[in-house]
Symmetry: C2
Subunit: 345 residues, 2 copies
């Protein structure tokens, strides 16, 4: 059996990675249709030794599509996804548009795949940082139960798309020309970013997405709490996130502290983690074995290590996790959901 698949946002970073993953997994495709903005319409993308012409999303008709993987802004998703469902397609939407909609399942297959049964056409994928953190926490949530989570993130640049990546590389090329590294901040202060709220090269900043006027929490940080509660079916779960951008191309990292329902040793926790699909435990720090974003980039598993007791929290445990924000944090999860709803996996 094979399927008619649509990719919305085909020219973007997520679109590119989605096509790569469909190829890697030999996804059974009968017909492939690529959609993007009007600006890209008519261009062709090479995939599986064939040229595929891009259609303008605005003018798009979706008849005959079995499933659409959509990576666009939330505002575009809100407009277009219902049209696709009306035309008979299942839509896996990677934007934030429907994630908290009660009638839309928000799914990572390893965590709450059963929620897919209730879908009415639209299925949401989580925010990329939420996805990495949720994977690392899910084995402990399932085996023991989690009361609260404290997260500090190290989020890569690629979450900001092609323009963000290009600007980051350009600014980094300027930043590396340091006649006097100890006074480097003086020349770095002259570099200006358009795609980021602060200089993304040789810098970190505690802002991902935006802050509403007068708000002390970023929209990115709000997402982690709301989405984690929904995927874990844990409406009382406390999640406190600090979202920080770092100069890394691909791979989001999270330093997580958690309070568990009962005392759990690091050894026991590592067993739950190793036994969970999609997780690889790397935790022999004295041998240099721990997660890094570069090691997590390009692979399917989320890497988890630095598992330790955390005495400041009741039944406290901490860990460090890294995952590819474009793959498990986005396109891979979408393809896994697609395989599941289409009965391939």
């Amino acid at each position: 059996m094979s399927f008619s698949i649509g990719i919305v946002g085909a020219t973007g970073v997520t679109g590119e990675v989605t096509l790569r993953i469909l190829e890697e997994r030999s996804f059974p495709i009968k017909e492939l249709r690529l959609f993007a903005s009007r600006r890209s319409a008519g261009r062709a993308i090479r995939w599986l030794d064939r040229d595929w012409t891009i259609e303008a999303l605005d003018d798009g008709h979706f008849d005959g599509l079995d499933l659409v993987i959509s990576a666009t802004d939330a505002s575009i998703a809100r407009e277009q996804a219902p049209r696709m469902v009306e035309a008979g397609a299942i839509v896996i939407d990677q934007s934030s548009a429907f994630r908290l909609d009660q009638s839309v399942p928000l799914v990572m297959p390893e965590i709450n795949g059963a929620d897919l049964e209730s879908h009415r056409g639209i299925i949401s994928g989580p925010n990329c940082t939420t996805a990495v953190a949720a994977m690392a926490l899910a084995p402990l949530q399932r085996a023991v139960g989690i009361e609260s989570i404290i997260s500090s993130s190290y989020q890569s640049i690629s979450g900001r798309g092609r323009d963000g990546i290009a600007e980051f590389l350009d600014l980094s090329r300027k930043a590396v020309e340091q006649p006097d590294a100890l006074r480097g901040h003086e020349s770095l202060a002259l570099l200006e970013a358009q795609q980021f709220p602060k200089l993304p090269a040789f810098n970190v900043f505690p802002q991902c997405e935006s802050f509403l006027e007068g708000s002390d929490i970023s929209t990115e940080e709000e997402k982690m709490e709301a989405e984690m509660r929904k995927m874990f079916h844990a409406p009382e779960l406390l999640v406190h996130a600090t979202a920080v951008r770092v100069p890394v191309l691909v791979g989001h990292s999270v330093s997580l502290g958690m309070s568990l329902r009962r005392e759990t040793s690091p050894e026991e926790a590592r067993e739950y983690l190793s036994g969970f699909p999609g997780i690889r435990v790397v935790d022999r720090p004295w041998e240099g074995e721990y997660p890094t974003p570069i090691d997590s980039a390009g692979i399917d598993e989320v890497l988890v290590g630095r598992v330790r007791s955390l005495p400041s929290l009741e039944n406290g445990l901490s860990l460090f996790a890294c995952g590819d924000n474009l793959r498990k944090g986005n396109a891979l999860n979408a393809v896994q959901v697609a395989e599941r709803v289409l009965g391939i996996a």
Copy 2:
């Protein structure tokens, strides 16, 4: 009144910044003597429009020196500092050699300056990350009291000295040449670091300093707990640190969560913070006002922002702080201690 001052490790990063700070503060110097390894002996360093010849530390005699600011490895400090004290000098040692020695005060003047009274010749300065975190926490420790701390750090490259900085810049120059950023991890994986346990360019890794065989905590992480307890006179204080290296030249950042002795609103906390010497509160995130390491580099204050309630901890509060690891994290603090013990400040 003016003094005979020795700088040990004069050719290193800390030595350079110490000399700059002595100049900035018009430190009253009668005689300046510079010490370094035998390799550098005989070379001259330009300071205040004069050439100062470097002496070999090994052969050094320290007679006539009032005070020495020493930035060397702990092993060298253990050997040399007692010789300097014997010769009549007060030694401000920036290494870890004496920090936890009960007969040696470990001091940041704003926090526990009174501890200086008990010194017997040697005074220690804290680890650079501890220093930044301690400054941000001290106002709350003093006004309210802290039960426990959870810290995730974003530590800059310059903590690894000149060789570390040079290697980081070299690897960064290679890392920016990305023909395909989304597959960048493949070329980055080929780059090798000597000065760092993992690639420091376009990467982060949860290892600063080292792990003893079989240990789940790095020596850097251990320091934060022990040193914070000592400076705060709080032997029961729980400190859980995750120390992470990030691709930043100068400026250490910490994402801190804490449990306070009583409920304290972010507004109240900001008042304690703003009233504390050496702290600048920058906390209007919706206007892009929050700490970044680049903004903290080259200045004396530690920047504190993102102050929020943290519901997962009892009377919980979180914040994000950045400080110049070479200045308040090291040389500036040493000079401030020197001013205090010599009665200049």
